[in-house]
Symmetry: C2
Subunit: 340 residues, 2 copies
Amino acid sequence: MNIKQLSKKLGLSITTVSRALGGYSDVSKKTKERVKKFAKKYKYSPNLNASRLASNKSNTVGFVLPLYGLNSNQLNQSSFFEFIAGMSKKLNNENIHFFMFFANNAEEEKQAYNKLIFVEKVTKIILHNLKTNDDRIKLLTKNKINFVTWGRTKDLKNYSWVDLDNQGSIELIMQHLVEKNHKNICYINIAESYNFAYQRKQGYLKSLKKFNIKYTNKYYITITNEEPKKSANLIKKLLIKNKKITAIICSTEYTAVGAIKACNELNKKIGKDISIVTFDGPVIERITTPALSAIVHPREQLGIKAVEMLLSMDGDNYKHQNFLAKPKLIDRGTIHKVSK
Amino acid sequence: MNIKQLSKKLGLSITTVSRALGGYSDVSKKTKERVKKFAKKYKYSPNLNASRLASNKSNTVGFVLPLYGLNSNQLNQSSFFEFIAGMSKKLNNENIHFFMFFANNAEEEKQAYNKLIFVEKVTKIILHNLKTNDDRIKLLTKNKINFVTWGRTKDLKNYSWVDLDNQGSIELIMQHLVEKNHKNICYINIAESYNFAYQRKQGYLKSLKKFNIKYTNKYYITITNEEPKKSANLIKKLLIKNKKITAIICSTEYTAVGAIKACNELNKKIGKDISIVTFDGPVIERITTPALSAIVHPREQLGIKAVEMLLSMDGDNYKHQNFLAKPKLIDRGTIHKVSK
DNA sequence: ATATTTTACCAAAACGTTTTGGGTGTCAAT
DNA sequence: ATTGACACCCAAAACGTTTTGGTAAAATAT
């Protein structure tokens, strides 16, 4: 069933049918309703290729999902899932298409963006995993693509972004810990080459200052991609050398599991002798014992926001917006009070 | 740059340019090369909407990814990632498009398949997470969609499929254990409503028969979605009640973590007093101690195979194929030898 | 030398929409 | 009665390809 056949059934011109379905004002209400009724009845759905060709609009948002190196660099798959869920919810609602390329290596990833722009002719893209100085921003700007990023570059240039409040997350944890009289708080971060890790460190430093605690590099460790398996040992050594430590903050679940192991081996009771706080993921609640207190990020909401921003952009006609998601701290009982 | 402009530059007709790029035999080799060179030079890439409209071919494979209930029903996200990676590798190579819908609930999922067929007009789909009696197979068959499934229904009807060898996996484990003189082997499966769980049970039963070991329901437990947190306790009780048990097979990583905990609490040394074997996932190697021996499935290869099959189908012109992936058992040292 | 086949190209139609640039009839205002 | 505004509808052009149904020239066969 195409528009020609449908218009015949209706006794109307193709034009009128098209404009009725498009909601134009030069079609009477009565006709509009009749057309829509018939369209439903005969299961008419416009040929998208013809429609896009004629209108020169793709009505599509593009996204590139890297399928490589996900676990190995400790970026959790589930965080992608949550963000994608948010995007797709919003897009499904708005009847906008969601076109996703999958990249199995860096080369494919680069190609994917080019394909999105030059082959698929997508005009709206959501970017993520920002590098400190990201080539893609130039590429998109140059080709007049509307885009919103998830994450920020170090030098916040002129673009729209949504992000988790990484700095605020650590500040929230620190606040909570200090209120319970913790003073010897160590932080196991991941490599600072990730901008979000850098932001988190800033939160750590800022909080220390705020609460008049001296920074010592003995309490601040970064764990690289190759070390996740060894993190338990690293933390064990740390705890042995620095007996005063009463709280450990871990930037990833896997590290937190290492911290649990270290504490067990040293016979330190978590939630009594020592506190552990980390960032939420699928593993914690399901398989760690005890279930750890953790920062929860509204990643789905972030996906929704990103799409909202993107859709509000209209060619050149928009102002840059941004959105910083508020973190929550869920205390599952692994934070204890230190006696003064 | 469109085909008209390009043909002008070349001094050729639109037809010839189109057919040159399409590789038709009624264009001379010389011209073909010249056209391709120019196309590259001027970065010409055919307008996909026009091309699809004219040729009435979408050259697209459809897939629906459910974003809901993934963790809660113990189906690991990473298994999807690996399968998708396989599909996208093959599709990228063949220059076929990969169209994915994301479903945030059962309703959206159902809709997604309808959209793929009636709106996107995709003619090739890859199906997965098969139910025992799956409506989608009817839908696709009725609408003459070429499809390949990942997984099988109970009553294997007439369709092409790829699958992990679930039955064979358990048989492989059992073989290995029996060779090391294990006789009291318990198996913690997940709910048999998942067809793959059912298949695994068959493997367990078949192996017991083969090795003349009597089946007892004391040794076979299924863990439902609600119990993953409690699995440690379940297994602990099991071990206390049945002191003879020397080996535990777990169908999921999370359960295996529970088994570790149970053994620790009972002071049973894993790999010395008791063996644990499970199915591979991202958690095991990274955070369980010890790293467990496990069945590894070539999920990426499965994705590649599925696409290969699908592309080899040509409308009505094909024979049903299938592919059963061979499992591997990686022994990381948690399987011990029992003295006779 | 003529007939036949093969090679290499092309004009025009087709795909199913949206958009452009109208048109006609009705109603209120003059 | 005429004009202008408005409501409602339409024919035809346009979008950028692929495919159809050719033709002319060159190569081969008779």
